[in-house]
């Protein structure tokens, strides 16, 4: 944590606004309970009706505004913090936020925030504490600290992949015709825990069968598995705070010929996306490589989403594998490759792996077979 905090301080020293002020630059970064806060500080808080905000500056120790009853969480940290605890009565919170922000002399300055995580709840308290401050988007700065994973982070992600794969193997043998998507999802969740996932999973498993498999973001339903179904399972584990996110598609009994065909196309698209991943290559090229395979096979309109997203402490983070993303891949960047073909009202296929960029190319963390296996 101390290294990560030092990196943020160093970045803020570079970005600091001179006294005369300018329209760019940042004097601080303010975070609410979020993956970035955990990344920087190791701290976890529930995202509740009680606002928690940590403010990072170039030179002072982090300032944390938090409920008094959470104070035990910030005692004994391996780095200095300055805490501003508030009591249970919400009427007193604003004054405590004002003290915190003013202790850092931030009114009128530029305080960077993460719009994807910060709620109006915390934002309004920050604003009340520094009515003349500006709150620009600091997502790119915070993301730049997180986007290249170190060896320890990659090792945790590898463990998260192995736990997920083991859990699915343990679940596949239990699948029976007539089992509902919800039952299968609950069993997979149990197996994820038994295999060593933390209870805070990146997401609840997606188990979608038959026509539901044509919906990329389906929630498990009461629908029962039937012969002839494609079965999409999109699942992941969390190990030591890092996540995995995989998808495999199965055949329930015999399925029609076109489903075999689209599965082969998606398998080829997945391989093409992984093969395109290498340092110095734009993220967009990974998307284009996978998409080209599906387009050439005539199913381009049925691949309705980007090819992948970054992965690490969060299930979705930078970098995004979107055709228009010109960001160049660098060693340590980790992301999913997950092309799909969805035939509305019929069935769908998705195959998803987790990849990390190395010095010379890319390593695939997941090694579970990608062929169309029959289950049930």
């Amino acid at each position: 944590m101390t290294t990560r905090l030092a990196k943020l301080s160093a970045a803020l020293r570079t970005l600091r606004v001179e006294p005369q002020g300018e329209a760019s630059g940042l004097s601080a970064v303010a975070l609410n309970p979020s993956p970035s806060l955990t990344y920087l500080t190791g701290l976890r808080f529930h995202l509740s009706e009680r606002p928690v905000v940590a403010i990072f500056t170039a030179d002072a120790p982090p300032v944390i505004v938090l409920p008094a009853l959470e104070m035990l969480k910030v005692i004994g940290l391996p780095y200095q913090v300055q805490t501003f605890p508030y009591p249970e009565n919400p009427a007193e919170w604003e004054g405590v936020f004002r003290q915190a922000v003013q202790s850092l002399g931030l009114d009128g300055k530029r305080i960077g925030v993460e719009p994807r995580a910060l709620r109006l709840l915390e934002f309004h308290h920050l604003q009340a504490g520094a009515p003349e401050a500006k709150f620009p988007d600091a997502s790119a700065l915070v993301s730049s600290l997180r986007i290249r994973k170190d060896a320890e982070e990659i090792a945790a992600m590898r463990r998260a992949v192995h736990v997920a794969q083991k859990a699915l193997e343990n679940t596949l043998v239990l699948i029976k015709i007539g089992m509902s998507e919800k039952e299968l999802a609950a069993e997979l969740t149990v197996q994820l825990l038994r295999s060593g996932s933390q209870p805070e999973m990146p997401f609840s498993p997606i188990v979608s069968s038959g026509p539901n498999s044509a919906n990329p973001h389906a929630a498990p339903s009461e629908r029962k598995l039937q012969p002839g179904d494609l079965l999409v399972i999109d699942w992941g584990a969390t190990v030591d705070g890092y996540v995995s996110d995989l998808t495999r598609t199965f055949a329930v009994g015999e399925v029609e010929a076109e489903y075999h065909k689209i599965h082969q196309i998606v398998q080829a698209a997945n391989a093409a996306g992984r093969a395109a991943a290498s340092p110095g290559v734009p993220c967009g090229s990974v998307d284009k490589a996978a998409r080209a395979v599906i387009e050439q096979a005539g199913y381009g309109l049925h691949f309705t989403h980007r090819t992948g997203h970054g992965i690490g402490i969060e299930g979705h983070e930078e970098p995004y594998m979107r055709g228009d993303n010109e960001l160049l891949l660098e060693p340590g960047m980790a992301f999913t490759v997950e092309p799909g073909i969805y035939l509305p009202g019929r069935n769908g296929v998705r195959i998803e792996d987790n990849v990390v960029i190395t010095e010379k190319g890319a390593a695939c963390l997941s090694d579970m077979g990608r062929e169309l296996r029959a289950v049930g």
Copy 2:
């Protein structure tokens, strides 16, 4: 859902701002993926880097801005919606938000939001779509729709309590001295799923032992259970979208006399809090009744949090059992009663039940014994 939507429309008709405008009133409510959105529409979306916003007005069908790849979720709903899907490229999102907001003629109007749920991500898109609009806090309005549970909601909460109690009973028999808090929490999570909880639990179980039990919001650690520990387990289940949230405290082997004493005090405080709950009584009285027992026993400084919080579709919602809360209890309001005594550096006790206000008094949904049971 249609009844709930109709209630919101009716409320908005009352609150509508006349053409000449005024500083109060509301023309619309805008919600991001949140428990309130699910309550009103039945819809669930991941809270991701792709903003989703639903806008409710007095007369038009709800307007939903969402990623094109989520469109299948809004097909076949039992009520009308107007959808504004956007493609994967974020550069195009702002234009789609502008169309959506302008289709309702909302620029310059007052659009209510929930600061506890809405992120700057969605807020900035709304603002870009309606630069002259104001975005007042509509939490009280939305909460007023949710705060009185109907019979069906209470039945779901009762099932969520029973599933949680069954899961804990199945776990208690597996507790052994030397088991870590994390192992115990994982086992309890498995039992919650086996007993019928949905995978989306209200929170990961808190399992805290020995000195950790003196931290009301401790996360399960690698600490192993030892004779002489108090063991606090705070857990809950989700059934049909409604949650339970319970706490019991156990003795690992023999514990010192003072721990028996504080357990008895907390048990009496829990009973006093539940007994004080009745229609027409202010929420503050529930807190005061529980707190008085602990204060009279000389441990007032060690009860560091409010006595409870509302519960329903969320683990924490209105009404809050805080001494200064003058809101009067009404039939259908549901909340926790969870006094505690925490001796820093030593051990802690908390006992939590789920209560719902009836026409004549209050019903306790949880009936698991509250005595200090020995485990291990």
